[in-house]
C-alpha cells in the first residue's frame, strides 16, 4: 500500500482530500455543455466589445453556475447527515466549523475554478476578435461573489437540512429564484426603487458601453458587497450549524443545551457571531446604497456615496477611418471590425447624392448615449457629417445579432442615411416615416445604390398629413417614373427641388 508522504500542513492535507473526492468534477461535463449552449453562444452573438461580451457573465453564466453551485454545495454540506457520520466526526477534536469550512472550501475551489475557466474562455474568444480595449474585471468579481454566495447558501442548507433531496431542492430553488426574478424579489423587500440592481443579472447594455465613457464600478461594488455579505454571514452561521441542526430538525429550544454542548468553545462562537454581524451589516449597507442609485450621463448607474468623478470622464476616442472611394467613414476603433461593411454600404448611396445640398461629406460613429439620453443618428454640421451610432448600426439593422441577411442590413443602413438626408437636418435616422414623395425618391436612390427599396413595400407613408392618402401603388408609379430618368437628370432635379422635397411640398404627381 502507499500513503501520502508529502509533509503538507494538516489543513492542506484535508483540503486536498476534499478536492480529490468532491462531486463537482463529475458534473463539469454537463456544466460545460450548458455553458457552451447558453453563455458562449450568446457571447458569440454579441459584437466583440469587451463590456458587452462581459455582460454575459452576469446575465447567463452566473445563472447556470448558480443552479449547479447551489445544488453541489448542498450535496457537500449534507454529506455528514446523509452518510450518517455525524457522531463519528463529532468525536474528533478538530472544530466542527473548521471541518465544515474545509469541505466548503473544496467545493468552492472547484466551482470558482470552473467559473474562472468559463470567464477565460469568453475573454480569450473576445480577445481574439476585439479591436480595442481590455477585459473588464468587475463583472468577474461580481460573478465570483455570486458563485461564492450561492455556494455558501447551498452548503449551509445542506448542513442544516441534511437529506438526499436537499441538493436538488436547492438547485431548483436557485433556478426558480433566477427565473422568477431576484430583481423583483429585491424590489418587494423595500419600497419601489433601485434595489433590484443588487441582482447581478441585468439587461444587456447598449453596444458601446465602456467605449465612449468609463463604466463606473459603483454598482459592481454594491453587488459584491451585498453577495459577499450574505456569504460571510452564512459562513458565520456554519459555526453554529451543529447547534442549528437539532433545532431545525426536531428539538426546538429544548435542544439548545445539547447544541451548545457540541459547540467549539466561546472563542469560535464569538468569531461566528462577529462574522454574522459583519455580513449582515455589509449586505444591509449594500441594500441601502442600491436605493440611492441614479442614472448617469453615459446611461449607467452611479451611487453617490461610492462614485468617483474620475469615472465620469469620457474615454479618449481613437477612430479608425477609411476613404477608399473619397467618402471618409470613421468608426471607433472598438468597432473597426465593421468599418469596411459600413463604408461599403454608404459609398454607393453617398455617390447618388454627392454634391446635393446637405449631402454628407463624411460619416462618423458617435456615442449611443449622451447626457443620459439616447443619441439619434442624423446629418448635422457644416460641412455636413452623417453621424450614426453603433447601437443603431448594430441593434436596429442586425449587424450584431447574427442576422445572415447582409443585404437587408446594408439596405437598412443606407435607408438610415437617406432618411436623414431627405428629412433634412436635424432629423432622425433609421426607419422614420417619410412622406409619399420623399419615399418614392428614397426608393429610387436605394435601387440605384444596389439595394432593395424598403419604404414603399412596408407602407410607411403616414407622415405629415398632406400626402397621407397616397397608396403604395401611387408611390411605386412615381418611383418608376423617377427611376426612368438618367442619373444626371435625377441629380439635376434633386438639386433644384430638394428643399421643397424636404419641406414636404412636393407631390407624387410633381415627380418627373
Amino acid at each position: 500500500m502507499s500513503v501520502t508522504s508529502m509533509p503538507l500542513p494538516r489543513s492542506a492535507r484535508a483540503l486536498r482530500l476534499e478536492l480529490k473526492r468532491n462531486a463537482v468534477p463529475y458534473v463539469l461535463p454537463l456544466l460545460a455543455a450548458v455553458f457552451y449552449f447558453n453563455t458562449l453562444r450568446t457571447a458569440d452573438g454579441f459584437p466583440p466589445v469587451w463590456t458587452l461580451r462581459a455582460s454575459v457573465i452576469g446575465d447567463h453564466m452566473l445563472f447556470e453556475f448558480s443552479a449547479f453551485a447551489g445544488g453541489l454545495a448542498a450535496w457537500a454540506g449534507s454529506r455528514e447527515g446523509r452518510r450518517k457520520t455525524l457522531d463519528l466526526v463529532a468525536t474528533t477534536s478538530r472544530a466542527a466549523w473548521a471541518r465544515l469550512s474545509t469541505a466548503l472550501a473544496g467545493t468552492l475551489c472547484w466551482l470558482l475554478l470552473a467559473f474562472l475557466a468559463g470567464v477565460a474562455v469568453v475573454y480569450i474568444q473576445t480577445a481574439l476578435q476585439a479591436t480595442w480595449g481590455g477585459p473588464p474585471l468587475w463583472p468577474v468579481f461580481v460573478g465570483a461573489a455570486g458563485v461564492t454566495a450561492v455556494t455558501v447558501i447551498g452548503f449551509t442548507c445542506g448542513v442544516v437540512f441534511p437529506g438526499r433531496f436537499t441538493a436538488p431542492l436547492v438547485a431548483v430553488g436557485v433556478l426558480v429564484l433566477d427565473q422568477a426574478g431576484l430583481r423583483a424579489a429585491l424590489g418587494v423587500v423595500g419600497p419601489p426603487g433601485t434595489y433590484g440592481l443588487l441582482s447581478p443579472s441585468n439587461s444587456p447594455p447598449v453596444v458601446d458601453t465602456g467605449v465612449y465613457h468609463y463604466v463606473a464600478p459603483d454598482l459592481s461594488v454594491v453587488q459584491v458587497m451585498f453577495m459577499g455579505g450574505i456569504a460571510v454571514a452564512l459562513f458565520g452561521v456554519l459555526g453554529l450549524a451543529l447547534g442549528l441542526r437539532p433545532l431545525a430538525l426536531a428539538g426546538g429550544l429544548r435542544s439548545l443545551p445539547a447544541a451548545f454542548a457540541r459547540g467549539d468553545g466561546w472563542l469560535l462562537r464569538a468569531v461566528t457571531v462577529v462574522l454574522i454581524a459583519c455580513g449582515v451589516a455589509a449586505s444591509w449597507t449594500a441594500f441601502a446604497l442600491a436605493g440611492t442609485a441614479r442614472l448617469d450621463a453615459a446611461g449607467g448607474w452611479q451611487i453617490p456615496a461610492l462614485h468617483s468623478a474620475a469615472s465620469d470622464q469620457p474615454v479618449p476616442v481613437t477612430q479608425s477611418c477609411t476613404s477608399s472611394s473619397g467618402f471618409q467613414v470613421c468608426v471607433h476603433q472598438a468597432f473597426s471590425f465593421y468599418l469596411d461593411d459600413v463604408a461599403a454600404a454608404l459609398d454607393p448611396v453617398v455617390a447618388e447624392i454627392a454634391g446635393l445640398p446637405g449631402a454628407p461629406a463624411r460619416a462618423e460613429e458617435v456615442a449611443s448615449v449622451s447626457g443620459g439620453n439616447p443619441v439619434m443618428s442624423g446629418i448635422s454640421g457644416n460641412p455636413p457629417v452623417f453621424e450614426f451610432t453603433a447601437e443603431h448600426v448594430g441593434s436596429m439593422f442586425g449587424e450584431f445579432n447574427g442576422i445572415p441577411d447582409a443585404a437587408a442590413w446594408r439596405g437598412g443602413f443606407q435607408q438610415g442615411l437617406l432618411d436623414a438626408f431627405l428629412e433634412g437636418p436635424p432629423q432622425l435616422a433609421g426607419p422614420v416615416p417619410l412622406d409619399a414623395a420623399q419615399q418614392a425618391v428614397e426608393d429610387v436612390l436605394l435601387t440605384a445604390a444596389g439595394s432593395q427599396p424598403l419604404g414603399a413595400s412596408s407602407g410607411q407613408t403616414a407622415v405629415n398629413g398632406k400626402l397621407g392618402a397616397a397608396t403604395p401603388a401611387d408611390i411605386s408609379a412615381a418611383a418608376q417614373r423617377f427611376a426612368a430618368l438618367s442619373p444626371s437628370a435625377r441629380h439635376a432635379w434633386l438639386a433644384v427641388h430638394l428643399t421643397s422635397l424636404r419641406a414636404g411640398t412636393i407631390t407624387l404627381a410633381q415627380i418627373p
Binding site: 500500500m1 502507499s2 500513503v3 501520502t4 508522504s5 509533509p7 503538507l8 500542513p9 494538516r10 492535507r13 484535508a14 482530500l17 480529490k20 473526492r21 454529506r79 455528514e80 452518510r83 450518517k84 457520520t85 455525524l86 457522531d87 463519528l88 466526526v89 463529532a90 468525536t91 474528533t92 477534536s93 478538530r94 471541518r99 443545551p257 445539547a258 454542548a261 457540541r262 459547540g263 467549539d264 468553545g265 466561546w266
Partner: protein, 247 residues
C-alpha cells in the same frame, strides 16, 4: 483512571436511558453487556463526548469534557466506532482513515505512518486503495476499527465491533483488542458474550439504564451456575444477572 463517571444520568424526554451510573475504568478491555434499550449506546455516546449527560460528573482521560478545552484534548486521544458506521463511498480506505487522522489533529508528519499502521492492523493492506463503496460489510467494519485506532487512542470505544466479521477476523480482532488494552482503556459494547469472554478483563451488565453487575468474566460465569439460561456458561451468568435485576 481513564474513565471516571459519578452519578451519570441521561434522559430523552421522560425516558431515562442512563440512570445513575458510577464507573471507574483504568487500562484494559472492558465489556459492556446488556439487552436492547439497556442504555449501552447512550453511555458509550456520553463517553465519546457526543452526548452530554443530563446530570452527573464525568472525567475522561483526566479531563472534563464539558469544558471545550478538556473536550478537545479528550477527543484527540479518543477512538470511537459507532454501532452503525457512516462512511463516504467515494473515499478510498487510506483516504478515509487519513481523513479521521487529520480530524483527530494528529501531527501532519505522523499521519502517513499512522494510517499505514492502522490499515495493517486490521489486515486491509490489500484493499488500501479500494473505494469504500466496493468493500463488503466486514471490510467496512475493519475500516471503522482502523479509523478508531489510527491516533493510538487512550480511550477506545467500540460499539458492536465484531458485527459482520467472519470467525477468523473476529479472533484476530479480539487479539487486537487485548493488545490495545495493555496501554489504553477499551470499552466494548456488544451482544456477543463470547467476545467478552475472550477479550475482556472486566465486564459490566446494564439493564434499564443502570449497571447491575460489574466484575470479571469469570465472576459473571459464576453467577450463572445453577441459574440462568443459555448454551455457554457466560450466557447463563448474563441471563441470571438480568433475571435478578428485573425481579
Amino acid at each position: 483512571m481513564n474513565v471516571v463517571l459519578t452519578g451519570i444520568h441521561r434522559s430523552f424526554g421522560k425516558n431515562k436511558a442512563v440512570d445513575g451510573v458510577d464507573l471507574q475504568l483504568g487500562t484494559g478491555v472492558f465489556g459492556l453487556l446488556g439487552p436492547n434499550g439497556a442504555g449501552k449506546t447512550s453511555l458509550l455516546r456520553m463517553l465519546a463526548t457526543v452526548l452530554p449527560p443530563s446530570s452527573g460528573e464525568i472525567l475522561l482521560l483526566g479531563r472534563d469534557p464539558r469544558r471545550p478545552a478538556g473536550r478537545r484534548e479528550t477527543r484527540r486521544r479518543l477512538g470511537y466506532l459507532p454501532q452503525n458506521l457512516g462512511y463516504y463511498p467515494s473515499f478510498t480506505v487510506v483516504e478515509f482513515i487519513e481523513y479521521f487522522a487529520l480530524l483527530k489533529e494528529m501531527p501532519s508528519s505522523a499521519v502517513p505512518k499512522a494510517v499505514a499502521t492502522a490499515v495493517e492492523r486490521v489486515d486491509l493492506g490489500a484493499k488500501a486503495k479500494a473505494k469504500l463503496r466496493t468493500l463488503s460489510g466486514g471490510m467496512l467494519r475493519r475500516v471503522g476499527i482502523a479509523q478508531a485506532i489510527v491516533n493510538d487512542p487512550g480511550l477506545l470505544l467500540l460499539d458492536e465491533p465484531t458485527a459482520g466479521l467472519d470467525p477468523e477476523q473476529r479472533v484476530q480482532f479480539r487479539a487486537l483488542m487485548r493488545s490495545l488494552g495493555e496501554s489504553a482503556t477499551v470499552v466494548v459494547s456488544t451482544h456477543l458474550v463470547e467476545d467478552v469472554g475472550a477479550a475482556c478483563s472486566e465486564v459490566a451488565l446494564m439493564s434499564a439504564g443502570k449497571l447491575v453487575f460489574r466484575g470479571t468474566p469469570g465472576e459473571l460465569t459464576a453467577r450463572g451456575e445453577g441459574h440462568g439460561v443459555g448454551d455457554a456458561p457466560l450466557e447463563r451468568g448474563y441471563s441470571a444477572v438480568l433475571s435478578a435485576a428485573r425481579s
